[in-house]
């Protein structure tokens, strides 16, 4: 949110002096909470914003790797191979994807993002041999043109859905939900429904888009199986079909996605980013990525399809360590949204003055719904979007993707693995009891996993 609609803090007292004055901030009613109440009272509508959950939840930071030593030996950094490639969708599709890094770009719509941002994502991803994904708004020619591997989302709204683009896609992702809002539909506010966006979505220009949260022509896993059958028939069984779920009951949802015939399951944890969602939804619905992975992996293992139906995990992936931890817990690949936008230039301090004018600050800006992004990414304003050079931004993304991959490889080699997929839960320990229980790896220095039988 922005603080434009609420009183600014008392003038003349710098925040660092408040404690010295003996003022005590309430843990329950902290300043952000007070600002939320004031905003609600002033406007009468709930706060809609972008980004993901901002509250602290157990995460990859709460896990550590056990490097090799006496009982197992490490691989040499520059000589011994540690492959990062991944094949996605070879269960049923005759044309699976073969990516050079397990870090993929998550679905973000043209509409939520500017055309330049979409092009930059395509350029960056293609440069390192990974995939990018459309979003709730259809496929643009720029995006198809710049993306070597393009995943086409099939969402409840079906904005811009058509069989020509479906046949052009390298994979199809049926979206049931998103980690930021499991159970919620797409949202795009009027500021971003320009003529082009409206045309692609068949909506009147400038309206606040309402969209469905359930698919219009199927409900439940039995129908989904028939729906997947239809998409396979239309694409002559060539194209891999993913099913994306927002993490709430990932054990059951993963099992049902497998039963319905998915080639790949995408699980997005509650920290996952969004372009526009009610804050109350972002912060209070869904479970952390860390808790979701072992549940999804358990479902795959019980059905005997772990590594055959690939698992892509997203929601709060920032570093190569996060990538390696997700993979050690059993993911085949990961997807990034927020981090990719930051690599393009989102929340760049060079726009500090403009963020401030919008009532925010570099590092805090989350008003993706507003369309006034100084960095030219989450906007449809021609002047603002022209600030993002798709070539330079694509280069930054490619750099960042390379770093993520190399970091993950560094860790995997230290654990003695010749492929990122050889990382395993046994390589991990947890720093906190919560993370230990969720990730199902022992608390560091113990053999204790809360919730797993004896203690």
């Amino acid at each position: 949110m922005t603080i434009t609609s609420v009183p600014l803090p008392a003038q003349g007292v710098a925040p660092q002096d408040l404690a010295e004055l003996g003022l005590r901030e309430s843990a329950t009613f902290d300043r952000a909470t007070i600002a939320d109440i004031q905003r609600a009272a002033a406007t009468g509508v709930y706060d809609i914003r972008g980004w993901g959950a901002k509250r602290k939840v157990p995460h990859f930071d709460d896990l550590l790797f056990l490097g090799a030593s006496m009982s197992r030996y490490p691989l040499e950094g520059y000589r011994e191979k540690c492959d990062p490639d991944v094949v996605l969708g070879d269960r049923h599709a005759t044309r699976p994807l073969h990516l050079q890094t397990p870090v993929t770009i998550a679905g973000m719509s043209f509409g939520a993002l500017s055309a330049n941002a979409k092009e930059a994502l395509g350029r960056g991803a293609s440069e390192v041999g990974t995939s990018t994904t459309t979003g709730d708004g259809g496929m643009t020619p720029e995006e198809r043109g710049q993306s070597k591997h393009l995943v086409y989302q099939y969402l409840p709204s079906r904005y811009g859905m058509n069989p020509d683009d479906l046949r052009k896609a390298d994979a199809i992702e049926i979206v049931l939900g998103q980690g930021a809002k499991p159970g919620g539909g797409g949202m795009l506010l009027g500021q971003k429904i320009t003529e082009r966006v409206a045309g692609m979505r068949t909506l009147p220009v400038g309206i606040d888009q309402r969209s469905a949260s359930r698919h219009p022509d199927w409900t439940g896993p039995d129908d989904l199986e028939i729906k997947i059958g239809e998409l396979r028939e239309i694409t002559d069984w060539k194209t891999p079909i993913y099913v994306k779920i927002g993490a709430s009951r990932p054990y059951y949802d993963t099992a049902l996605a497998v039963k319905s015939g998915a080639d790949v399951v995408v699980v997005d944890g509650m920290q996952g980013g969004t372009a526009a969602t009610q804050q109350v939804f972002i912060e209070n619905v869904g479970i952390p990525t860390l808790a979701a992975i072992p549940q999804a992996v358990q479902a795959l293992q019980e059905l005997g399809v772990h590594r055959k139906v690939q698992l892509i995990v997203s929601g709060g992936i920032r570093t190569g360590a996060d990538v390696a931890k997700a993979m050690a817990l059993g993911a085949d690949a990961v997807a990034i949204g927020t981090a990719a936008l930051i690599a393009l230039g989102d929340n760049d301090p060079r726009y500090a003055a403009e963020y401030s004018a919008l009532g925010s600050a570099a590092g805090f800006y989350d008003d993706f719904q507003d369309g006034r992004d100084p960095a030219g990414i989450t906007t449809q304003d021609p002047e603002l979007s022209s600030r993002l050079d798709p070539v330079a931004a694509g280069k930054r993304l490619a750099n960042y993707l390379r770093v993520l991959t190399m970091e993950a490889q560094t860790i995997a080699r230290a654990c003695g693995k010749s492929h990122l997929h050889n990382l395993e839960p046994e390589d991990l320990v947890a720093l906190t009891i919560e993370a230990s229980a969720m990730a199902r790896v022992p608390l560091a220095g113990t053999s204790w996993i809360p919730g797993q039988g004896s203690f």
Partner: protein
Amino acid sequence: MVTLTAPEVPTVDALTDTTVDLGVSSVRELNQAIHNAVDGQSWTVTNPGGKHSLAVGIDADINVAIEGHAGYYAAGMHQKGNVTINGNAGVGLAENIMSGRVHVTGDASQSAAATGHGGLVVIDGNAGARCGISMKGVDIVVGGNIGHMSAFMAQAGRLVVCGDAGDALGDSIYEARLYVKGTVASLGADCIEKPLREEHLAELAELLAAAGRTDNPAEFKRYGSARNLYHFHVDNSTSY
């Protein structure tokens, strides 16, 4: 639930008039053959037996006649050609149709012509719930009644109902135009009755004629969006 496995893809000789007996051939063979088709060819499908995904993804000016009942998603994502089902159709008939024409002589189940972007869908009998849900430009003519939640979030296109409409017609509707000859059990949020002017009578007459119907356009009522939900607003909070 059955586990889907990739079937072998046989090559079917493209004849100009082909009969495919689904008692013998597979759905995969049928769809592969019509995907390889060229304009002007015709298919007759016998023994459809309510199978799913019949004649999906057509992308050529061909004619397909299905002699019997079809399951889910018959003529899904249809483009350019003509599909006639001499029987009933299951859920999601002609879903996301882009152009061309799909005609069902019997009844259609839920979500007929869902999200259709163009073309014409004619249902001589009744249609179930959610007929024309999220329609985006398709024209739909239903000879009988339609079920509840039809034209939910309908964005564009025209829905003509010669019988009655169920509850919550046109809930959260955008710019689609709805014409109903019989009664409407109830209107959904933001859907209102609107005057039937000359241009509406003319387009209605055209749609009825295209569907081969003789109903009198003057006997219909028109429904559409009040456009009150086009912007998030405090006063609409009970509708969200």
